[in-house]
Amino acid sequence: MPSAPFPFAAPDERACFRAYLEALLLVGLVAALARAASPPLPPAAADLPFLLPVLLLAVARGSGPALLAAAAGAIAYSVLFTEPVGSLAIDDPADVVTVLVLLAVALFAGRLAAQLREQAREARARAARDAALLDFSRALAGATGEAELGRAICEQAARLFDAHAALVAPGADGGSPRLVAAAPALDGLGGFEREAAALALSDGRPAGRGGDRLRAADYLFHPLTARPGAPAALGLGRPDGRAPVPDADQPLLHSVLAQAALAWERERLAAELRDAALLRERDELRRTLLAAIGHDLRTPLTAILAAAGELCETGGEAARTLEAEARRLQRTLADLLGLARLETGELRPRLEAVDLTDVVSAAARAVRAADRGAPRLSLPADPPLVRADPRLLEHMLLNLLDNALRHGGAPVAVVAERTIDGGLALRVLDEGPGLPPPGAPSAAAGPSAAGGAGLGLAIVRGFGEAMGVAVEAANRPGGGAAYSLLFAPGLLVAEPAA
């Protein structure tokens, strides 16, 4: 792309020199014409024409050349038109006044004209900058999606500053910055560039070549927002190594960065909205599905349970098994629905001061009722109260007891003990084969056993997570497994004196 002339760059030296040459030539021309016309005209009439080059140059070339033209005109007038001719000396005091007035008028007019010219130049520059920014924001507004927006920012910045541009954003999980887009395209960032980009992003100040730190990088990275933790940074660099943005263009750069920051933020919000809408839809679907499953499975289960209960009254081992298993199925279903509803936020744990005696005895009674054996309960006389949801806690314990009685080995015991950190551990202990070795769960326990244990334990972990209760599984030193519910000291309730 041919280098577009910068609309507001300072005039270069050659143009300056030419303007001064023009000043001398113009004054010479006026002197020659006035000299040629002097026999018909009196020499005194030759003073005003020397104002012409001064005004002309002031308007067209600025105050410097106009000043030179004024000086040169005064000299030429005094040499050529005042007595003695051919010398700078002036005899007639009236001529001295003429020369001084000529100089004063030239200076004054030149200054005025130069100011006008400066104002016009600034207005042009402002218009050009506004037009450039308008183009920039228009290009950004048309972009959707991070990649497209990044490309638009880079292309526009590259065009505006006649430089190479690269946009970087913080990497995932605070890793090294990632390249969003570049113009011309880049495969990736070099080591120095990555470092400079990371620095600029993290503290919100520019870094890289032409800046005051990490100058080894090919780009100077400008954070989009001048705050630590910038959302993205724009790198600008030139193959010839010069500063990509001259001082005169700093205001433009600021505007460009501000626009880019706005567009970037807008894109981030739009992406979040898209995600939120998607999540909401998914949650809604899940809720509907859960409600339907809950109703459609619970109702027949209720009928089965009631029928099994009636069969039990007339006796029969099969009827009792039917009832026990249906009850277990019902409980697992309720737990699964509860877990799913906890995840969607539909169900919140109701935390209250809970007496572990209530929870442990209720779970033990339920296990006993299902004919799965009698766990030995070993609670201290005064287990501290814990802050928990009693129903969730009871179901956690029920699942652990069920798991221990099915997959572990009798005798099963429930114990509560203080932990080293001042919290409380509620442990379910069995004397079975212990935990399956890691990595081979299904091979060790058989698919059905592992599936059963896995589901129950998943429920325990899910409920525990909702209440801030940690779940720990370990092998006991003497054989068997220990599943522990760990209550941090913060979950214990201070007891009032009775």
Binding site: L301, T302, L305, G309, A364, L377, V493, E495
Partner: protein
């Protein structure tokens, strides 16, 4: 002989049929309603002794129906049967006048026990003045005397007040908030830990096995239930 008339309100035909079977076997007469409007009509027409009310009705929320039932039949035994696990619903139902609740899917023996308690209450009113027996202990409300295994037990004033309050709802659940209000005053309505500590002390003094309580039972998130035995001659087998 008719032990009593039970009105079953549930929109599920299968549930109604099973409830009817279980209740009829126990000697009760059963009338059925599938929605709230019919329930109110039958309540006036059949004058049942106990209502088994499902909270999820097609025409209106069961919770709305509770006050209407109480207005129509102030003395009827009112049990809420609900699949809803939400503790809030149970507490709300009790506050709105339900005597007790049975969770669905129900355990028939438990259901029948609740029905018996409700009928008993209807027959006797709250059993103030009687001698109550629970587990190895007895409570004589008139003499303010508590025995365990025939030996007198000393209770603190708070312990006795709580036990007496539980005894006012024999076999029925009393909510945490109700017990706290009655024993500690309205300012302590949500200080559950007070209640827990005194219940633990009572259990230690009165339960056969305090680690596996059988007399003072907790309904998770709802309240406590004093498991009294039917009115039998209080100390017949003791003396």
């Amino acid at each position: 002989m008719n032990a009593g008339v039970i009105l079953v309100v549930d929109d599920e035909l299968a549930i109604r049929r099973l409830l009817r079977a279980a209740l009829a076997r126990a000697g009760y007469a059963v009338v059925e309603a599938a929605d709230g409007a019919e329930a109110l009509r039958l309540l006036a027409a059949e004058r049942p002794d106990v209502v088994l009310l499902d909270l999820g009705l097609p025409d209106r929320d069961g919770l709305e129906l509770l006050p209407a039932i109480r207005r129509t039949a102030p003395g009827v035994g009112l049990l809420v049967v609900s699949a809803r696990e939400a503790v809030e619903d149970k507490v709300a139902a009790l506050d709105l006048g339900a005597d007790d609740f049975v969770a669905k899917p129900f355990d028939p023996p438990e259901l029948l026990a609740r029905v018996r308690v409700a009928l008993r209450r209807r027959a006797a009113g709250d059993a103030l003045g009687a001698v109550l027996r629970f587990g190895p202990a007895t409570l004589d409300l008139l003499a303010r005397r508590v025995d365990k295994d025939g030996l007198p037990v000393r209770l603190t004033p708070k312990e006795y007040a709580l036990l007496a309050e539980l005894a006012r709802h024999p076999g029925r659940v009393a909510t945490h908030a109700h017990l706290l209000r009655a024993v500690w005053g309205p300012a302590h309505e949500s200080d559950l830990e007070y209640l827990r500590v005194v219940v633990r002390a009572l259990r230690r003094k009165l339960e056969a096995d305090p680690a596996l309580p059988a007399a003072i039972l907790n309904e998770p998130g709802v309240g406590y239930r004093l498991m009294t035995e039917p009115f039998e001659p209080a100390r017949a087998d003791e003396l």
